[in-house]
């Protein structure tokens, strides 16, 4: 089987895991949650194998490059990092309700890659502008950042829901305590911010080595900076003005909207970045 095949199957494994996490949370059952963790781990293994296999395939085709250069490949890597970071957090904090909010994001990323008719999964050779080691550094760091922000987004929604929980028996009470959600969100945002910064920086260094300018205000660059401004606002509001809880959660949601726009929305704007709409 080729890598696209493995990744298509992984999409369904992720769907199953996401469903089990939600089921376990809504029906307050522990067993489906445990199964969900196993299924999610199998999915992650599939995702990683698909990624590596695609790398090998590109060598067999005589193209030989890391699978990180178009929309399909970036989505596959995005799903991989979300699943990986989520599973690490689940191990550390031992609460599977987070899976109901984080894991569907990994599923959606991979489903969009595998199922959308607009996204080609063909392994294509690199156009000259993308032949640079900075490309790999740039894509890897950006997507680690995006994945951290994605999970922070899921946790922020949990936080906002959790605050509305009134009755003791509510399924929302199964969430981690608000204090923990708040702290964890912030930790993820710091991780994301560090990697977003490195992502923007490696992008700038790459642009400088390819075109002789490190910054050109093209829409993709500008939107990544807008995202950076939003999260920078969040960090200052929290460190200096003592913002916590709900306001941070909302800023985190706004920040993730900016991330999504940087990733997908920019293709709708006039501009010349490398991931065209057809990927």
């Amino acid at each position: 089987m080729n890598s696209s095949g493995i990744l298509s199957i992984t999409t369904f494994v992720y769907a199953t895991a996401a469903f089990l996490y939600i089921f376990a949370w809504v029906f307050k059952k522990d067993f489906p949650g445990k199964v969900a963790t196993w299924v999610a781990s199998v999915g992650l293994a599939g995702n990683i194998s698909g990624f590596i296999l695609r790398w090998i395939e590109s060598y067999q085709m005589g193209i030989g490059r890391a699978p990180l250069s178009n929309l399909y490949e970036s989505l596959v890597f995005f799903a991989l990092t979300i699943a990986l970071i989520y599973l690490v957090i689940e191990q550390k904090y031992r609460n599977r309700t987070m899976g109901a909010f984080a894991f569907p994001l990994a599923f959606l990323a991979l489903a969009y890659a595998s199922l959308s008719p607009n996204i080609s999964d063909r392994i294509q050779p690199l156009v000259p502008a993308l032949k640079s080691n900075w490309l790999i550094a740039h894509v890897v760091t950006c997507f680690i950042g995006y994945a951290a922000f994605a999970i922070a987004f899921g946790l922020s929604i949990m936080f906002i829901l959790r605050q509305r929980a009134k009755t003791e028996g509510s399924i929302l009470k199964r969430f981690p305590e608000p204090r923990v959600l708040d702290e964890l969100t912030y930790q993820l945002i710091m991780l994301g911010f560090l990697f977003l910064s490195i992502g923007i920086i490696t992008g700038a260094v790459w642009a400088n080595s390819a075109w002789g300018r490190y910054w050109g205000w093209d829409p993709k660059e500008t939107w990544s900076l807008i995202t950076w401004f939003v999260y920078s606002t969040l960090i200052h509001a929290r460190m200096m003005r003592g913002w916590h809880g709900k306001r941070i959660a909302w800023l985190s949601i706004v920040g993730f909207m900016a991330v999504m726009f940087t990733y997908f929305g920019v293709n709708l704007l006039p501009g010349l970045h490398s991931y065209g709409a057809s990927g």
């Binding site: 294509q124 050779p125 156009v127 000259p128 502008a129 032949k131 640079s132 923990v180 702290e183 930790q187 710091m190 991780l191 911010f193 560090l194 910064s197 490195i198 920086i201 700038a204 260094v205 790459w206 400088n208 080595s209 390819a210 075109w211 002789g212 300018r213 490190y214 910054w215 205000w217 829409p219 500008t222 939107w223 900076l225 807008i226 401004f229 939003v230 920078s232 606002t233 200052h236 509001a237 460190m239 200096m240 003005r241 900016a258 920019v266 704007l269 006039p270 501009g271």
Partner: protein, 465 residues
């Protein structure tokens, strides 16, 4: 930060305005929102294109607001200047206090603060205070860079701490932002960015600047010896390559093939592969044959643009008038083509299009003669981006400092630990407590782990003493 809003001194008021984090948040959000404008409105297009897209009235309004070149507009630059002043003033305002905390030789400890901590851990040990002290001290001193033991009348206090300097993390990040802005300023004052097209075999010594469109002389010559483009089987471009020679006073001093992502650097000026094109071909070889073979002839002739070719037996003449990069036929682009006129002896002159990609194209015309391009001289020009930016090293320094600063600010904390060992008859009571200026949850877990270790040490060796 000191709040001092009632101060009558206007100088002080301005200082305080710029020292405010409210201003930071406001500026960052304003920058985030206004930056969107330039991504929605394409920048630096021609006025005609804008009038066409937005209409006369909106065009005027946008134009007054500098929306068509907004990242260089006075108001956007003003926001950035405010941000810079904000970081500088705020850091100056707070740095002395932070520095006082960071630079102490003997870190102060307030044991009572640790005793009151509600996540502290207590346990009993059968061993004496001094034995425990001897066991704990090396352990704590290894885990923390600074450690100190104090004797009290009830027993001993062990303090340990590390990462005091990480309180400077935010200043490091802010310094990196200053580096970036200073680097950008240097670049915009002393740098330039332009482009030049060089036909194969030719030499230039000036470029055209991108922003002002002015001619800018270089103090050396660039010659393009060769340009080549290769394609993958799928037809997408694989590599653009220009063989360039730099000449000083007509003598070659440097030679290099450049490709995208691998520029040539000379005297701090970087020359990048950026585009290419083919040049009007001067000479070509035509093949002309008659449609009906029995009648026929088929001959080949070398010619130049504008030079008529006589058909045999006085049947007329053909002249190639033009070469184009993108000929149109039936509303579709058919690529590079020669365009000429066929004038038969009898009848009207007709236009002939000879696309290079479709050698049999002229058959479709259904004329008496079929004309094709058999061979032609192909020449390229290379499009180079030429940039000089002395600010880049400063910007790159800013990049590195920013990554380090963010890492320190986010993930390394100032951690302090206090262990109190108190005599309780023959045995001892131990308290372990710790604080951290960030990631408090993580610190609580760390204290738990450390106290488990300590508990292990205070029992294993001599449980009966």
């Amino acid at each position: 930060m000191v709040k001092n809003e009632t101060s009558p001194d206007p100088k002080n008021r301005i200082w305080m305005f710029f020292a405010s984090v409210k201003l930071t948040v406001a500026l960052l959000l304003t920058l985030a929102v206004t930056s969107i404008i330039g991504t929605v409105i394409p920048q630096n297009e021609s006025p005609a294109a804008y009038v066409n897209a937005y209409g006369e009235n909106l065009y005027r309004i946008f134009s007054v607001l500098n929306f068509f070149d907004m990242y260089r507009s006075w108001w956007f630059q003003l926001l950035i200047i405010f941000l810079t002043i904000n970081v500088v003033v705020c850091s100056l305002e707070r740095l002395p206090k932070t520095w006082k905390i960071v630079s102490v030789k003997v870190p102060p400890f307030n044991a009572d603060r640790f005793r009151d901590d509600n996540s502290k851990v207590d346990f009993q040990s059968q061993r004496s205070v001094q034995t425990l002290r001897q066991a704990f001290e090396p352990f704590i001193c290894k885990k923390f860079n600074y450690c100190r033991v104090e004797e009290t009348d009830k027993g001993v206090l062990l303090f340990g701490e590390k990462g005091r300097w990480t309180r400077l993390g935010a200043y490091i990040v802010h310094m990196s932002i200053i580096f970036l802005l200073v680097g950008a300023l240097i670049g915009s004052i002393y740098g330039f960015e332009g482009f030049v097209n060089i036909p194969e075999g030719q030499t230039v010594n000036q470029i055209r600047l991108r922003n002002s469109n002015e001619i800018y002389p270089l103090d050396f010559d660039i010659r393009c010896d060769r340009f080549s483009v290769s394609f993958y089987e799928t037809g997408t471009p694989k590599e653009y390559r220009s063989a360039l020679t730099i000449l000083e006073e007509e003598k070659p001093v440097l030679q290099k093939d450049i490709i995208v992502n691998d520029p040539l650097s000379y005297k701090g000026i970087n020359i990048f592969q950026s585009s290419y094109g083919s040049l009007p071909s001067e000479s070509l070889t035509l093949s002309i044959s008659s449609r009906e073979p029995q009648l026929g002839f088929n001959f080949v002739k070398e010619t130049k643009i504008g030079e008529p070719v006589e058909l045999p037996d006085g049947k007329g003449s053909v002249v190639i008038q033009d070469y184009t990069n993108s000929a149109q036929f039936g509303g579709r682009s058919i690529g590079e083509a020669f365009i000429g006129v066929l004038t038969p002896k009898e009848g009207e002159p007709v236009q002939v299009i000879l696309p290079l990609r479709f050698p049999n194209f002229d058959r479709m015309r259904q004329g008496d003669f079929i004309i094709a391009v058999q061979d032609y001289e192909k020449k390229f020009y290379t499009g180079l981006q030429v940039a000089y930016d002395p600010g880049v090293p400063v910007v790159y320094l800013g990049f590195i400092v920013m990554i380090l600063g963010c890492f320190i600010t986010f993930f390394i904390s100032h951690q302090r630990i206090c262990i109190e060992v108190i005599r309780a008859g023959n045995s001892s009571r131990v308290m372990v407590a710790g604080t951290s200026n960030k990631n408090k949850l993580g610190m609580q877990q760390k204290i738990k782990r450390i106290s488990e270790k300590l508990q292990g040490m205070s029992q294993v060796n001599s449980p009966t003493t």
